[in-house]
Amino acid sequence: MDPLRAQQLAAELEVEMMADMYNRMTQACHRKCVPPFYKESELSKGECVCLDRCVAKYLEVHERMGKKLTELSLQDEELLKRMQQGSGSA
């Protein structure tokens, strides 16, 4: 594949995934911070602060999950390599 095309596809995929992450974050934080009582249209101060913290935490969780996934997939790769080496030498 043409490297420029590959780069373009990667960028498009990243944008799509960021949008997906944003939607999930919105849903999760709305569920946690905005109770389903629609008597007033304005958000209370507590709800606003909750939303700010929720977004900060969600992004941190996202980063942490990414690192953990990378760590686990590297561990799996190493294990697979060891198994292959073991079966090859036998």
């Binding site: 995929l13 995934m17 929720c54 969780v61 942490r64 990414g66």
Partner: protein, 89 residues
Amino acid sequence: LRDFLLVYNRMTELCFRHCVCNLNYRLLTGREESCLDSCAARLVRANHRLMGTYVGLVPALLQRRAAEHGALAGPSGPPASPEPAPGSA
């Protein structure tokens, strides 16, 4: 890559929903961090197990379906040839 990234996003949402309950602080607490680590590891292992079981079961299922399909098509024979047109003789 797309599927992997979707799984990543789903995992983030699931683990966040389950582990992060205290929104009194901006930073993650120690308890939340260890919950998140366990959640990630569990989901990955569950996914691996699921995949392994699925890969083991699908060939038999497909074989069974193919056999059923063959059994349905077999006894009825090939479809009957259409009647010759009335004015053709």
